[in-house]
Symmetry: C2
Subunit: 283 residues, 2 copies
Amino acid sequence: MESFFTFLEKRVADCSSLLCIGLDPHLSDLQTPNAAGALASCLNLVKKTAPYAAAFKPNAAFFEQFGAPGWEALKQVIDAVRNESQRQGSLIPVILDAKRGDIASTAVAYAKSAFTTLGAHAVTLSPYLGKDSIDPFLTDREKGAFILCKTSNPGAVDLQDLPVLESDPDVNQGNRAVQPLYLVVARLAQSWNTLGNIGLVVGATQPEALARVRAVAPGLWFLAPGLGAQGGGMKDALHAGLRPDGKGMLLPVSRGIARAADPAMAAAKLRDEIFNIMYRRER
Amino acid sequence: MESFFTFLEKRVADCSSLLCIGLDPHLSDLQTPNAAGALASCLNLVKKTAPYAAAFKPNAAFFEQFGAPGWEALKQVIDAVRNESQRQGSLIPVILDAKRGDIASTAVAYAKSAFTTLGAHAVTLSPYLGKDSIDPFLTDREKGAFILCKTSNPGAVDLQDLPVLESDPDVNQGNRAVQPLYLVVARLAQSWNTLGNIGLVVGATQPEALARVRAVAPGLWFLAPGLGAQGGGMKDALHAGLRPDGKGMLLPVSRGIARAADPAMAAAKLRDEIFNIMYRRER
């Protein structure tokens, strides 16, 4: 059985893109502020931008706020990506941005929700409850899990940057190695990746952090949000986070495409900018 | 405007209970394994156990796995608790166990989902993304947020027990204080609690951890899961975690009540056992 990342890499090759198109139906962007409005907005975006999408990333919160009709809309959006994939003859993975994280028996229900009920191919997860909260999402290699590691919001520093002391009792405290929590999470994710279907969420706005995570997780795919509509900082982020094979990073962009006058043109332009950096960077 | 915890304390006084009844419709417990079966199971449990419930805690995952009909069932379960509250003339708070955690604009949508769309009174949250992922849940004092601190699952040690080094640059590393991550989270939660509507999730199975969290967060309410159907370890947990006023802990029990031959009798018995320990313990 192939891994989720095999499918993702095929798609990346098929469309020459590392662009992950975020489907975040913000209330203020909708013609009608309800589930029908969110559905219409996302279906339009999927149709227009699919040729340039390495993946789509619907964010559960923006559907969940509408209750049951929102969840029905989310399912229809994921169905629409599947139909678009068939039309193109190339599977476009759907990463459900849900940031779930609960104990084992509950995690089984969340995995069923994401992969079976909704039909997503991967999901974002929080690491705070540890390995047994992640394992139920890994049992099927064809499904992937991106674990939150280093995010780009202001509050990221509150926990993720805390200095964690290596806990070797044979070494004096003053001589023990210290690393930020997000690097411990990256190492844990690497060690949990026995089936090859784990990735990491690492913000694109801090190239130094990207490079540090890349150093401890050389093979993992990163979902790297934070690039603005203008692609500011894109070059630095790609140089810091890409693997030597020019892959290993998905760049999610939401409002920069959804709010563009011509979303297809905005997506095409970003796709090409990323592609040019991928292949021109110094190795 | 009163805080969520004012409502909770009124309810605790009204029913002489610290019992939080978990509504976790496990597939294997349902007469029909679908949303209708989950709804029927939970409505029955709410009706039978409401007199003994300081709060109800539906777990979103077990509804979410059924897609849109599951979310409709979840809303109906919360409506049923509201109706039961009116019948009793005493508001029974609903804590949505969702463990959400996302960046600010997305957190706004999750808060709307929990508090407005579903009508829950409080929610459980993950701290990994920091303060700005929590703030949107705190803006209405009447709504509460329980932040994951120290959980009782095996994987809890992976992150929560990591030794965090105090980061005072004027002190040599060897002399700096070290504390587990969960205590840092408890201190952060305490410092974020400016409106008085934050609580913590601290597992009941480790009295020593409960006591350490109580020491750094003397006034906060704990949601303390992990007690078995037989109430094993209840006494140690309550002695370690209760505040001097005999309150400050909610004890969630799910399967121990839902799977009992007589759920009302099981709830009444647990309520009384907790009550006896609360008032007989040495101060």
